[in-house]
């Protein structure tokens, strides 16, 4: 592994370098995936463009909507006061990424661009209907995260383009989120299955007006379970409705058998975890669960 190393000090300069190197270049954020893949020989960039001297990419803004700079670390997500209530799934997703050493440097932008099917933060962002903004030589474009993730390690990012920020709306007080992960042990584990959910109740508390369910490690990308989501909208908030959503999500998932678990076990986990995550959302809206 050998490469030239670059440290741009502005987004414009980073994009120039990205455009110049195209597929021969890679942007470096936290490096917790990139450097390992370079060591393994899976990626062989001739140019590594480190972003850590580019100002303005590590900010969190929360007022009406939330904007996360691409270099926001998992550590920063875990500790931000705006994510301790209805957006709690962000904390729950971030705090199970590796150990402290990885969370101290690994970034939100990296988690998205790395496009692991088992990513823990992207399901939460999918459940929040997040958009991503990419900057390239032809300017900026903003697109839904849903659809941005193409395949393991593949996104809609064009060669040389830089993901600069992620944005989503803050939630009403009748909404809540939850994230659950299953692994063979509690810490330092790649998800066998992970689930992020968001529920919104109407003003009377009698019907769901919106539902989002996103799954990790059961398809080539993290993805939404749309049939399960649709089945909840307009339904009364009963345990039976939440269980049915779990069953539908299990039917929608397309897991594989691998070293971590069998496809059959993953399907069972999806059903259980989706129901549990939705139950937790409902409890949070009602204030009965922390």
């Amino acid at each position: 592994m050998s490469f030239e190393y670059h440290e741009p000090t502005s987004v414009a300069e980073a994009i120039d370098l990205g455009a110049r190197f195209g597929a021969d270049g890679r942007f470096l954020a936290g490096g917790t995936d990139l450097i390992i893949q370079i060591h393994r020989g899976k990626l062989r960039p001739r140019h590594v463009v480190s972003l850590h001297r580019v100002p303005g990419l590590d900010g969190i803004e929360a007022n009406g909507s939330v904007t996360l700079g691409a270099l926001v670390t998992h550590r920063a997500l875990e500790r931000h006061p705006a994510f301790q209530a209805s957006l709690r799934a962000l904390v729950e997703g971030a705090e199970v990424v590796g150990g402290h050493q990885v969370r101290n440097v690994g970034t939100v932008g990296g988690n998205i661009v790395n496009a692991s099917p088992a990513a823990d933060v992207t399901p939460v962002l999918l459940a929040l209907d997040a958009t991503v903004t990419c900057a390239g030589p032809r300017g900026e474009r903003t697109l839904p995260l849903d659809g941005f993730l193409a395949d393991p390690g593949q996104t809609a990012l064009r060669p040389g383009e830089l993901l600069t920020r992620v944005r989503f709306s803050t939630l009403s007080e009748r909404s809540a989120t939850a994230f659950l992960k299953a692994g063979r042990r509690r810490a330092m584990e790649i998800s066998v299955v992970c689930v992020a959910a968001r529920l919104t109740l109407d003003a009377t508390g009698e019907r769901f007006t919106e539902a989002r369910i996103a799954l990790g490690a059961v398809a080539p990308t993290t993805r939404r379970a749309r049939a399960a989501e649709q089945a909840l909208v307009g339904r009364a908030p009963t345990q039976a409705a939440l269980r049915e959503a779990g069953r539908l999500a299990a039917i929608e998932s397309q897991p594989i058998s691998d070293v971590r678990a069998s496809a059959r076990y993953r399907t069972l986990l999806v059903e259980t975890l989706v129901t549990r995550a939705l139950t937790r959302c409902l409890g949070r809206i009602r204030g009965t669960v922390s």
Binding site: H39, H100, V105, M188
Partner: protein, 159 residues
């Protein structure tokens, strides 16, 4: 490959290093500077034996490029004791028999230090979570956790 001239601050001392851009902080610490207290094992941020503190935060030196540490403060186990005195965490690890083969210990101590700076009175569960990124294959975790809790109590008593 163009070499980079880096100025690294390690354990309070400035070092001028000329190195290839693909070399990690771990490479430079162990091979160039002879600071072998930072251990090398999985090289994939799984085991945590290469943990050092950069600007006070625990990081895996095996996946951090040396170039990324320019202008930042690096603390390794060699820089923890002061004036020939052991750091209270080092003393507690000895007192509690927390060291078996010892290979994971420098990193355990540095992870614990970073965590205690932020959470001076942790619970046992919090200490276990704080050390989740550090593996001990002697599986001496109980005594390691005991030592960290004791160091935290001792430092609370001193305040």
């Amino acid at each position: 490959m163009t070499k980079l001239a880096l100025t690294l601050t390690i354990n309070g001392q400035r070092h001028e290093v000329l190195t290839e851009p693909n070399r990690t902080l771990l490479d430079v610490l162990r091979a160039d500077l002879g600071l072998t207290g930072t251990k090398e094992n999985c090289l994939e941020a799984e085991c945590g034996v290469c943990t050092v503190l950069v600007d006070g935060r625990a990081v895996n030196a095996c996946i951090l490029l040396a170039a990324q540490c320019q202008g930042r403060e690096v603390l390794t186990i060699e820089g923890l004791g002061r004036d020939g005195q052991l750091h209270p965490l080092q003393r507690a690890f000895i007192d509690h028999g927390a060291v078996q083969c010892g290979y994971c210990i420098p990193a355990m101590i540095l992870s614990a230090k970073a965590y205690l700076e932020e959470h001076p009175t942790p619970t046992e569960g919090q200490v276990r979570e704080a050390l989740a990124g550090n593996l001990c294959r002697c599986t001496g975790y109980q005594k390691i956790v005991d030592a960290v809790l004791a160091a935290a109590r001792e430092s609370a008593d001193r305040r």
